[in-house]
Amino acid sequence: MSTPASDDALWEAVADPTRRKLLDLLVVRGQATATTLTVDMPVSRQAISKHLVLLQRVGLIEAHKEGREVLYRVREQGLAEATDALSEVARRWDRRLQAIKRLAEEAHYEETHAHRS
């Protein structure tokens, strides 16, 4: 299922420190508007809105309306999927390194064996 390219959007979403900070704030507060989130961030409200849209698109947060306000909150399922996907990337490199190890050790064995025979 997972190829290196398929996690791109998620990858990009959480690689950014501003978006990680937003996720942090949303977890702590439960829910918040873009305006109140801006108070704690060193970037503009416009930038925050863009980050929220991106986080929403990859399923890490969700938005709902209360009166005239749009409230954002963390999507638990989205975070769980993100955690799995990120761990999978590290595991994938472990598997590749193990394969390189096996191939190189086999090649070395064959070379030294050939020299000695």
Binding site: M1, P4, P17, L79, L86, A90, R96, L97, A107
Partner: protein
């Protein structure tokens, strides 16, 4: 400054030259990385890796541009950027293999994957979040896991 780094390492009972060939030679790459490889270990060379998903559906083709070739010590490439683009620090992930001999027949191999540079982050504010920039990829995964905990109460 990159926003995350994955770092993995392994010790291999083979000389550094043998490990180098395993990592860089296209016919070897097919045995540990992708199902098809159109690459050349030359700085600036662009190519593709093809991954088949267990024989089902369309294969996934990933772009790759070789950055650094310093045999038998260092090999790096950028990958996972859009097919119509040229690889740069903002649109791709940088993979670096570092090979260090730890004996005549033993090599320490380290791989690092880093990206994406936070280009939209104003300079004067970078220091404030420098610590977060330095956090490793695995650290982020750990942290996401911790973030999950309170929402499960």
């Amino acid at each position: 400054m990159s926003t995350y780094t994955i770092e993995r390492a392994v010790d291999i009972d083979a000389p550094v030259e043998v490990v180098w060939r395993t990592i860089t030679e296209p016919d070897q790459v097919l045995r540990w990385f992708s199902d098809a490889a159109d690459i050349e270990p030359r700085p600036g060379a662009s190519g593709t890796l093809t991954f088949r998903r267990g024989g089902e559906g369309d294969p996934s083709v990933v772009n790759l541009t070789v950055v650094d070739v310093d045999p038998p010590h260092r090999y790096s490439f950028r990958w996972n950027y859009p097919s119509d683009a040229i690889a740069n620090p903002a649109n791709s992930l940088l993979v670096t293999f570092t090979l260090s001999p730890v004996g005549p027949e033993r090599t320490s191999l380290r791989v690092e994957e880093t990206g994406l540079d936070a280009l939209d982050w104003p300079d004067e504010q970078k220091d404030a979040y420098a610590e977060e920039h330095r956090q490793g990829w695995q650290t982020l995964a750990d942290r996401l896991e911790k973030l999950l905990a309170p929402t499960r109460d």
